[in-house]
């Protein structure tokens, strides 16, 4: 009797084991239910926030569940990254950020993860850092700037957001390339830089094109150069620094990431459903109105390629200025 019991027990446990292994396999292969959280290590209302909300509104039905946007600006964005790294690796907690958080801060600070722990799954757009001045400033072109800065080193005040941010690194690279020197003035971000430019408090500033388009069109500021391989779609008249003969370009890709512990099949699935959502007419219309640059969204491979390239470049710049 007892023997029989044991045999039954073994059979039952075997069945359970097979079953649970089967279901484990199944859950590994697919995303499953439950809300997906897009963690954004910035405050609400910025361009990343708008893009995240466009994803949430359009990709939900393709990913099979609700998508929430969670803003976690705490600890300079590190709290957001920590939250995604600590989450259960089922693909339901993903990160959306530019390279400052995942590459620059990881290289320069003591973080519990490596750059490679962030796996980009969607490449949303590339931001092109743009240098601009007030419309009535004596500098009105890249040439004017270099000439003036060579004649009087360390007199031109250049406003950029945080040190080593994506609108500061290109300046560092240009100074290395040309040997010019400017006074670097950190600001709270694009808004403060623009106020200081418009008020005539500083000479030059760097920002991302969508935020100054209306001021450029209105004739209040002049965008003098773009740190990118190609000109910006929204500022087609502004030359790149390469055109002016300076080989400096550092575009900032906006990426969606999972942590490396998330199974590859889920990464693939997420990447596809977000891409499908962003290719819908509604998403494209929203993106156009927001100048979010979502016309050419790329999947896993392109995202990982650009991430590797950007990492290399950032590593080089940081090594040359003795950071990281």
């Amino acid at each position: 009797m007892s023997f029989k019991m044991t045999r039954t027990a073994v059979a039952v446990s075997a069945a359970i084991l097979t079953f649970s292994a089967g279901s484990a396999l199944a859950s590994e292969a697919s995303l499953g239910d439950g809300p997906i959280r897009i963690v954004m290590p910035y405050g609400a209302g910025g361009s990343t926030d708008i893009t995240a909300r466009i994803i949430a509104a359009n990709a939900a039905e393709h990913c099979g569940s609700r998508i929430d946007v969670v803003s976690m600006p705490g600890a300079g964005g590190m709290e957001g990254l920590q939250f995604v790294a600590d989450a259960e690796p089922n693909g339901h907690t993903i990160l959306m950020a530019d390279y400052s958080a995942t590459i620059t801060q990881t290289l320069t600070e003591d973080t519990p993860w490596e750059v490679e722990d962030w796996v980009p799954i969607v490449h949303l757009t590339d931001w092109k850092p743009t240098v601009y001045v007030k419309a009535d400033h004596e500098i009105q072109s890249i040439e004017d700037w270099i000439e003036k800065a060579e004649a009087e080193p360390n007199t031109l005040v250049f406003g950029h957001a945080d040190p080593l941010s994506l609108v500061h690194l290109p300046l560092v690279m240009l100074e290395q390339e040309t040997g010019i020197q400017n006074v670097h003035l950190p600001t709270t971000g694009g808004g403060e830089t623009r106020t200081m430019i418009l008020g005539g408090h500083i000479d030059l500033g760097m920002t991302l094109p969508p935020s100054i388009v209306s001021n450029v069109n209105n004739g209040e500021v002049t965008a003098i150069g773009v740190f990118a391989d190609e000109r910006s779609d929204v500022l087609p008249d502004v030359p790149t620094f390469q055109e002016a003969g300076y080989d400096v370009s550092l575009e900032a890709p906006l990426l969606v990431y999972t942590f490396s512990s998330v199974p590859e099949s889920i990464q693939q699935q997420l990447s596809e459903c977000i891409m499908t959502g962003l290719e819908t007419d509604t998403a494209q219309a929203m993106g156009r109105q927001a100048s979010a640059g979502l016309e050419n969204v790329q999947g896993l491979e392109s995202a990982q390629e650009i991430y590797r390239e950007t990492t290399e470049r950032v590593r080089e710049v940081l090594a040359s200025i003795d950071e990281g």
């Binding site: 609400a44 705490g74 003035l185 600001t187 808004g191 001021n215």
Partner: protein
């Protein structure tokens, strides 16, 4: 102009738009009243839906939420001593004291009226003199901002009557607490004691709620405990009878009382409108600055901090008067001056309208409709507030035995919800402990919070000025506006000391 107004009215006073404004205000008041939740959060959540709405409807809804939220923040500040939004922190100083004295209805009504008056003033300024005021805002660079911050700090430290030294001391503690985190210029970590959670600095909400609300709850709890031990405690017995015998009909704001708060309200309206127009200065600064000035110019300044209706009026009017003027830099230059303005900017962008100088010329009708909606929403706020306040007043008078744990939970949940951060909850508890210590040693708490609010801005502005001036301190007095602020600060100190001496 007349044609534009007619066209705009047709848009703004469409029944659906009115309904959305109404809904928005109701939602805003409710969210604002819950600590940690704010109108801003609701606006952020609604952003994608804005794309699908007619601009006039969307604007109605968002404006309603914003205005309702600003006033709603004062409800929790007065009822529970927990500022529902950072802007309501100054309101909680006198508001909560007034409630403890059994006057929640008076306090809430004062807050409502001053909020609506301040807000309307600010909206009118936005509509009629946005362009000149915007030009003034642009002349504020780091040098001028530092002068403004220095002026506010001096004003607030002097606010603590009879305890100027203690006021200055806690203001300094506030500035020091604000220095934890990232160095604003180099980006290096400092004063974090190696704790990664502190590397981004302390957030405003947990510090505010901890200092004001948690320490208050602990004190109330201690009193309650003492009452159980010793039923003869006079003040507690008095308060208990007050709670049981709360009669709302005796707690009505009289016309005379309302009139007595008007001066404070106007001061708040002027200060709030001005501060709101400066990019980055913020609601909390406006509220505390109005409070400080109103106290200095009040005939009954000794009542401030003890439940003064004037104190509530100045703080709440200053807070709400940032509402219209915060849009001035957004419309004039496309620069969002505050988090809310940034969210509205995002909403404009999603509706295909780029914020900036061309906004008014390209979309004249819809912007004028927005202006009308701004004014109309104030009316809705007034009416809805008037209907809801009696209920809120009763809630405010719940027995402390139920109230204390409720406030404690509210404070913790609210803090967590604001930034989804566990670190913030720890900050809240530590700030609470600090608040208790300071109360025990009878230090004033308001200067600490003000030091914390303006510390980062002041430091950044100072260091930016020094970078721009190549390390020469004289750069600080190279701007006429800055000199004006320093002279005004000096004159105020002289005036107050002389007037105070003369009174004695």
């Amino acid at each position: 102009m007349i044609e534009v107004l007619i066209e705009a009215s047709a848009l703004a006073f469409h029944p659906y738009v009115l309904m959305y404004v109404f809904l928005g205000v109701l939602l805003g008041i409710t969210l604002g009243a819950i600590p940690g939740l704010s109108g801003d959060m609701a606006i952020a959540l609604l952003l994608p839906f804005v794309f699908f709405l007619e601009p006039a409807l969307a604007m109605g809804l968002l404006v309603g939420i914003y205005k309702g939220g600003l006033f709603g923040g004062s409800i929790a500040a007065i009822s529970f001593g927990v500022p529902g939004t950072p802007g309501a922190a100054a309101t909680s100083i006198d508001g909560y004291q007034a409630k403890l004295k059994g006057k929640p209805s008076k306090a809430l009504h004062t807050a409502l009226y001053s909020s609506v008056i301040g807000d309307t003033t600010s909206d009118l300024v936005l509509i009629f003199i946005a362009v000149p005021l915007a030009a003034v805002a642009l002349t504020f660079g780091p040098i001028e901002f530092f002068a403004l911050y220095a002026f506010s700090l001096i004003l607030i430290a002097a606010l603590s009557q009879g305890m100027v030294a203690k006021g200055l001391a806690v203001a300094a503690i506030g500035v020091l607490l604000a220095m934890i985190g990232r160095d604003p210029i180099t980006g290096a970590s400092r004063l974090t004691f190696g704790l990664p959670g502190l590397s981004g600095g302390l957030s405003l909400i947990p510090v505010l709620i901890g200092i004001f609300a948690i320490s208050e709850v602990v004190f109330q709890g201690a009193k309650l405990w003492r009452r159980k031990v010793d039923k003869l405690m006079d003040d507690v017995a008095e308060q208990a009878s007050l709670l049981q015998g709360y009669d709302i009909s005796k707690d009505k704001l009289t016309w005379a009382e309302f009139k007595s708060t008007l001066k404070a309200t106007y001061i708040g309206a002027a200060v709030g409108t001005f501060i709101g127009a400066l990019p980055g200065a913020g609601q909390s600064l406006a509220a505390f600055m109005s409070y400080g000035l109103a106290q200095r110019f009040s005939r009954r300044s000794e009542e401030f901090g003890k439940g003064s209706l004037e104190g509530i009026a100045s703080a709440e009017s200053g807070n709400s008067a940032t509402c219209g003027s915060t849009f001035i830099p957004l419309f004039a230059f496309g620069i969002p001056g505050s988090a809310t303005a940034a969210l509205f900017g995002a909403a404009f962008i999603l509706m295909g309208m780029t914020p900036g100088p061309s906004l008014l010329t390209d979309y004249t009708a819809i912007i004028y409709a927005l202006f009308l909606t701004l004014i109309f929403a104030n009316l809705v706020n007034l009416v809805l507030g008037k209907i809801l306040l009696p209920y809120y007043s009763r809630i405010a008078m719940i027995q402390p035995g139920y109230m204390i744990p409720a406030v404690f939970i509210l404070a913790i949940v609210g803090t967590y919800a604001a930034n989804n951060s566990v670190v913030d909850v720890w900050v809240l508890l530590f700030a609470g402990a600090l608040g208790v210590m300071l109360r025990l040693m009878s230090f004033p708490l308001a200067p600490l919070v003000l030091g914390f609010i303006i510390g980062p801005g002041a430091e950044r502005a100072l260091r930016q000025s020094m970078i721009m001036g190549g390390g020469d301190w004289w750069v600080l007095v190279k701007s006429p506006i800055a000199i004006g602020f320093y002279v005004a600060a000096f004159a105020l100190i002289m005036l107050f000391t002389v007037v105070l001496r003369a009174k004695k």
